[in-house]
């Protein structure tokens, strides 16, 4: 019997694998520690802090969407409530001079997220799929609108503010400077990421996957899918609350925008663009989307359009997100056939790029005409100057789009062929799919 078990069960990880696994976490911790030494301006520290917060938030969202298959349009409710409670807690602690230091405040946010998820979740997780999505949307609207009515708690549209420096000091840190906040966020991010990763490797975490794949069958192996969804929902709420509390600490203010549809939409974008099929996906997505939303609005006034179009493109052509695209290449890389697809990529990239540039040229020129018709038509977009009034510009845009589209279609078909070939060869070389 013993022998059978040993041969049939997956072998326990070898020492090298274990080292690699723990090495990654240690490496991440080191990078987080050293990052501010390399880039230390207040702006980049703020950027990093925001990325950390958005990583926790996106991962918490993926507990729902990626792990359990629940599409929520209202995850910001728990983020926002966590943020509000954190701000109130800071004010309360300062007011009563409780010996609680700032680094513990995110726990309060987490507990708040957990509490409300536990309260609201029981009803909303009774159903999955479209019904759950709609319910989450309705509940989010309800909470966001109520926040403006319950003024003394939510502070109206102005929100509630606090001073994070007045709490008990830790190692002489008062958490005024951004660098100290950065380390606070980084530490919490690391802890939360590890915790959420660990969650995926527990019986509950695996049953979440089972519910995602086939909620019906789950019932016939003894589990109540509603309970699984509910517990997943509670965890998602808990971590969202931590993220919200960190955001509140970072900005020292919480207001109704925390709870709103925009926040819920952004986290959905981040998780999906990064790739919901992999644990690391939402992390990639959170970094990517945070950078985009911070940087893109500086280079073009219609950044939201690009954002929306990009999202549609991901949904249509790369449903696995950025991570999914990268992971697709793993078998090729292992099978040693990666080089075979690269040339076709290079060929396909050119017309695709041409098409994208044509599209952007057309959009920017149109924007010029509708938004600033009286201004000088010599405009710049993304730092590149061009003349929006010249027919040449329009002709160029049109030509780029049409020719680019035609060639891109052809060349991507070729990529498809090259890809299939490479994969087949890789399989023959003995790499499992």
């Amino acid at each position: 019997m013993r022998d059978i078990t040993v041969s049939a069960a997956p072998p326990p990880p070898a020492l090298a694998d274990k080292l690699k696994f723990y090495g990654i976490w240690v490496g991440v911790a080191l990078i987080l520690l050293l990052l501010p030494k390399i880039l230390s301006s207040g702006g980049s520290l703020t950027t990093f802090s925001l990325i950390g917060i958005s990583i926790i938030f996106a991962l918490s969202y993926n507990i729902l969407l990626g792990q359990t298959g629940m599409l929520s349009f209202g995850h910001a409710v728990y983020y926002g409530l966590g943020g509000f409670l954190a701000i109130h807690a800071i004010n309360f602690i300062v007011g009563h001079k409780f010996p609680i230091p700032l680094p513990l405040v995110p726990m309060i946010g987490g507990a708040t997220g957990l509490f409300f998820a536990a309260l609201i979740g029981w009803v909303s997780t009774q159903r999955s799929g479209t019904a759950f999505a709609m319910i989450s949307l309705g509940l989010a609207e309800l909470v966001a609108s109520s926040a403006l009515i319950l003024r003394s708690f939510f502070g109206g549209e102005a929100g509630v503010s606090a001073n994070r420096t007045k709490l008990l000091k830790v190692f002489d840190w008062n958490f005024g400077p951004q660098i100290q906040i950065y380390y606070l966020v980084a530490a919490w991010t690391l802890v939360a990421v590890i915790a959420m990763y660990a969650l995926t490797r527990t019986p509950l975490g695996r049953m979440c996957n089972a519910v995602r794949d086939n909620p019906e069958r789950v019932q016939f192996v003894g589990y109540d899918p509603h309970v699984i969804r509910y517990l997943a929902f509670c965890f998602a709420g808990f971590f969202a609350g931590i993220a919200g509390a960190l955001a509140a600490i970072n900005f020292e203010i919480a207001n109704s925008a925390y709870l709103g549809a925009v926040q819920s939409g952004t986290v959905l974008f981040a998780a999906y663009i990064g790739g919901i099929g992999f644990f690391i996906g939402p992390i990639v997505g959170a970094i990517f989307v945070t950078f985009l939303s911070l940087g893109l609005s500086d280079v073009t006034p219609v950044w939201q359009l690009y954002f929306g179009l990009f999202f549609i493109a991901v949904v249509m052509f790369a449903p696995g997100g950025i991570t999914g695209l990268l992971m697709m290449h793993r078998p090729l890389l292992k099978g040693g056939t990666m080089l075979r697809v690269l040339p076709s990529y290079a060929v396909a990239l050119l017309p695709t790029l041409a098409m994208v540039i044509g599209l952007m040229l057309a959009i920017e020129s149109t924007v010029h005409y509708t938004v600033n018709p009286s201004e000088n038509p010599h405009i710049r977009a993304f730092g590149i100057p061009f003349n929006a009034a010249s027919p040449l510009t329009w002709a160029a845009a049109l030509a780029l789009i049409v020719v680019g589209f035609a060639l891109a279609r052809l060349s991507w078909r070729r990529v498809g062929h090259a890809w299939d070939e490479a994969l087949t060869t890789a399989r023959q070389n003995g790499v499992a799919a």
């Binding site: 078990t5 049939a8 069960a9 089972a210 789950v218 019932q219 192996v221 003894g222």
Partner: protein, 253 residues
């Protein structure tokens, strides 16, 4: 128990209607403990519906369903499963994105008392690991351990389906056409697999392949138009004129 052991499954006057259509008209069915019982009948006779009623997938309109003497009519599927009844599906119904190993492991989790644990590392649960490995071995899928279930061949998926059904260690097993769509050789392998795996348990099976039915079953019940018209040993069923008329007659011809 000294006197009469309760039946593994007992249906009394079970009815099921969808709107005004009565799909099941008063079923009475007894399956004794340790028995291999086959449920046969023409298409649309209500075999799958009967399974759905017993396993809790549907609620009966009226009547009583007992599992080892305990009333289970109206309970939810997972409640019935926890009382020791497990079923398979006619159309393969596995966790497509998860590997074979993970599929089986999900099926042993509740039975090993893990419930909704979120504080244990699933890879470090020896009992779960051992039981999963044993089932994997039993259904001959060791070589396909790390393949996502969605990528298995049809016969392999059917084997996995059976594996998931029995993995929880249920005492009463319901198999819904386990050999449907299989080649002759595959069917034989499947039958011996079923025979081996259900050793000492109660089996209720729906099957169209008569060689499977007569080779496997201790007792057979015939369902026609939502009613059990006959119940008995294979020999009794073979000789029953009513059955011949309604069902076997055409098949034998």
């Amino acid at each position: 128990m000294s006197g009469k052991e309760p039946n593994a499954i007992e249906l009394r006057d079970v009815e099921k209607s969808f709107g005004i259509t009565k799909v099941i008209q008063t079923i009475n069915l007894k399956v004794a403990q340790g028995e291999r019982h086959a449920l046969i009948g023409p298409n649309g006779a209500g075999k799958s519906t009967t399974f759905n009623l017993i396993s809790g997938y549907m609620k009966p309109t009226s009547g009583s369903i007992q599992l080892r003497g305990e009333e289970i009519a109206g309970l939810r599927p997972f409640q019935i499963n926890r009382r020791g009844l497990s079923r398979s599906f006619q159309v393969t119904n596995v966790f497509g994105n998860m590997t074979v190993w993970e599929n089986l492991r999900c099926a042993v989790l509740w039975a090993t008392g893990q419930r909704y644990a979120f504080w244990k590392n699933i890879d470090k649960l020896p009992e779960v690991r051992e039981r999963t490995a044993r089932i994997l071995e039993d259904i001959h899928l060791v070589g396909r351990r790390d393949v996502p279930a969605g990528l298995l061949t049809y016969a392999e998926q059917r084997a996995l389906e059976i594996g998931i059904t029995i993995a929880g260690g249920a005492n009463v097993i319901l198999l819904d056409e386990p050999t449907a769509g299989m080649s002759h050789a595959e069917t034989e392998r499947a039958v011996s697999l079923i025979r081996r795996l259900t050793e000492g348990r109660t089996l209720l099976i729906v099957e169209h392949d008569m060689s499977v039915v007569f080779g496997l079953a201790d007792r057979i019940s015939v369902l026609v138009y939502g009613q059990v018209i006959a119940s008995g040993t294979p020999e009794e069923i073979r000789g029953n004129p009513k059955v011949k008329e309604a069902y076997l007659g055409e098949e034998a011809a």
